[in-house]
């Protein structure tokens, strides 16, 4: 049996968890007779479980506890470990998100099991023993081929590296309720509050369009034009590392190796040369439109569309045209 930790928001499974389920189905198919079960934790877990039958999940373990009203990594690991103890999975898989990596690291630490993070592909080992896998190094600039031999393989799946199957139709697997036994130390590190973004802010991780700015934007003020276009398209602004190092924009907007991995429908890369450290953060975009003065910039080899020119002229012209066709 393969156990998948499914993260969820507002009663729906997260896209990155659906990607993890895709890998789990592949691994289950390679070892006949292997079932997939899921663990979902906290408020909304039951609703999210109701979408998992079409994803190949036979049983969903829905974890509820009065203390688990918000995220607490060690407590999540305790809950997951309880399910592991009774169900004895051959593998436990989570998304390679902050939470997925964190919870499986706790499980690994407590059980002494090895953990392979940010895997791209997993298959039974050629020797019939353990698993053979490929995982990201350098945030995806390099791939490591590795072997993992363990009683239970702990794996996380690199976000946006495999295609997920959309959960468009609900379908409930059989549900098992779990109330874990938590120690006070499980709750020593937990979310005690949130700092909400300004009203109307589009989340960079979820935006369908991201307008990205790099060195070519030239100044903090230069981003007003990018913000305007992002606003017109209902999208968000993302930036390269040069921009946050220069203090032009906050680090939370950085896309790349030391920032966010995004997967929008369109990434509009303005004045971004396309260093590998940035590309690994935006390569999951369905399409890239590069706006750059230099037709030889490396970003052009990743882009589906290109405009050759000065972004400070091109971006306002696009905004004006969007306004014109939208009748605004």
């Amino acid at each position: 049996m393969i156990l998948v930790l499914v993260e969820h928001t507002a009663g729906r499974p997260e896209r990155t968890s659906l990607e993890a389920l895709t890998v789990a189905r592949g691994l289950a198919a390679a070892t006949a007779g292997t079932a997939i079960e899921a663990v979902l934790i906290g408020p909304g877990a039951g609703d999210a479980a109701g979408w998992l039958a079409p994803q190949g999940v036979a049983t969903a373990h829905v974890v509820e506890h009065p203390e688990l009203t918000d995220y607490a990594p060690a407590a999540w690991a305790t809950a997951l470990a309880e399910v592991m103890a009774t169900r004895r999975p051959s593998a436990v898989i989570a998304a390679g998100t902050d939470r997925g990596n964190e919870v499986l690291a706790y499980v690994g630490a407590r059980t002494g099991l090895p953990l392979a993070t940010n895997c791209l592909a997993v298959a039974p080992g050629s020797t019939g023993n353990g698993l053979s896998l490929r995982r990201q190094r350098w945030a995806g600039s390099l791939i490591e081929h590795a072997e993992l031999a363990a009683a239970t393989a702990l794996l996380t799946i690199a976000p946006h590296a495999v295609a997920e199957e959309h959960a468009d139709e609900p379908g409930a697997p059989s549900v098992a309720s779990v109330t874990p036994t938590l120690a006070s130390s499980d709750l020593a590190s937990r979310v005690v509050g949130r700092i909400e973004p300004d009203a109307g802010t589009v989340s960079l991780s979820d935006a369908r369009v991201v307008v990205g700015g790099g060195r070519g934007v030239g100044s903090a003020e230069g981003f007003a034009e990018l913000e305007e276009l992002a606003g017109l398209l209902g999208g968000a602004v993302g930036v390269s590392r040069v921009v946050t190092s220069a203090g032009w924009r906050p680090h939370a907007e950085q896309v790349g190796q030391t920032g966010l991995r995004i997967a929008p429908d369109l990434y509009i890369a303005c004045g971004i040369s396309g260093a590998i450290q940035h590309i690994v953060g935006c390569q999951a975009a369905k399409a890239i439109l590069a706006i750059n003065k230099d037709p030889e910039a490396p970003i052009m080899q990743r882009a589906r569309y290109a405009v050759i020119g000065d972004l400070h002229q091109v971006v306002p012209a696009i905004s004006a045209e969007v306004r014109r066709v939208s009748g605004g």
Binding site: T9, A74, R110, R190, Y305, G309, V322, V325
Partner: protein, 256 residues
């Protein structure tokens, strides 16, 4: 307060990463070395905390003898003590790394008293295991928070912020604690000339830890093949705008 920062020596890679002929490592013949950006920020954060609250910073690494260079860089910006765990030049897996660091931390604490705070970078730039800090926190039975972009220490607690998709999360945990930080928490300073001179002469402890492999086991490395696309040029300069908006409409991002 007494703060320990754990760092890792990694090659300073440029635009193109090349492998050695046996595909076991990055070809570093023409590269310099550094620590991960997250770890540079961890050292800076530790030095700022000690400047504000008193105490001292110790920096520790598991790495080859040459990692002395990275320890001295940390001392040049304000770390007072340094410990090098000699890896014998091998690539240790996350379990072995955590075990070696845990044993060294226990030894240090038995001699000099406990660290109030142990800082890590969120993940190493090279292997990206996302787990050594947590494994050490569990071994030492201390609370831990990762992905931290803002950190305050007051009244025996740490208050930490971490970015999440919907909103920034706030964590609060009692000291002693383990915290893994991300780039963006601060802008690291450049070392001063007196700092560099002091760091050059500062004592440095070298230990030889036990290697207990746990996996996963590296077979080989591969540079991913990225198929270069030929971009469709929509035009030059502002005159391209109407064609761009047509494409936006085709993609369903602007209503037609």
């Amino acid at each position: 307060m007494e703060i320990l920062v754990c760092v890792k020596r990694v090659p300073a890679t440029g635009g193109q990463i090349n492998l050695t002929a046996d595909e076991q490592d990055i070809d570093t013949r023409f590269l310099g070395f550094t620590v991960s950006p997250h770890e540079e920020c961890a050292v800076e954060e530790a030095v700022r905390l000690v400047e504000a609250h008193g105490g001292s910073v110790t920096v520790m690494t598991l790495g080859p003898a040459e990692a002395e260079e990275q320890l001295r860089e940390a001392m040049a910006i304000g770390a007072g003590k340094a410990v090098l765990l000699d890896s014998g030049g091998r690539d240790w897996d996350p379990l072995a790394t955590a075990a070696a660091l845990t044993a060294a931390i226990r030894g240090r604490e038995a001699a000099d008293g406990p660290f109030d705070l142990i800082l890590f970078g969120n993940e190493s730039a090279d292997s990206g295991g996302f787990q050594v800090g947590i494994r050490i926190a569990v071994a030492l039975d201390r609370p831990c928070v990762i992905g931290v972009k803002a950190l305050e220490v007051a009244d025996g607690n740490v208050r930490a912020q971490r970015d999440a998709a919907a909103a920034r999360e706030v964590y609060e945990l009692p000291l002693p604690a383990v915290v893994a930080v991300k780039e963006g928490i601060n802008l690291p300073r450049y070392p001063s000339v007196p700092g560099r001179l002091r760091a050059k002469r500062a004592p440095l402890d070298v230990l030889t830890p036990d290697d207990v492999t746990g996996g996963p086991t590296k077979v080989r490395l591969e540079v991913p093949v990225r198929v270069a696309t030929t971009a469709e040029v929509l035009g030059e300069g502002p005159a391209a705008a109407p064609r761009v908006v047509e494409v936006l409409q085709q993609l369903g991002l602007v209503s037609s």
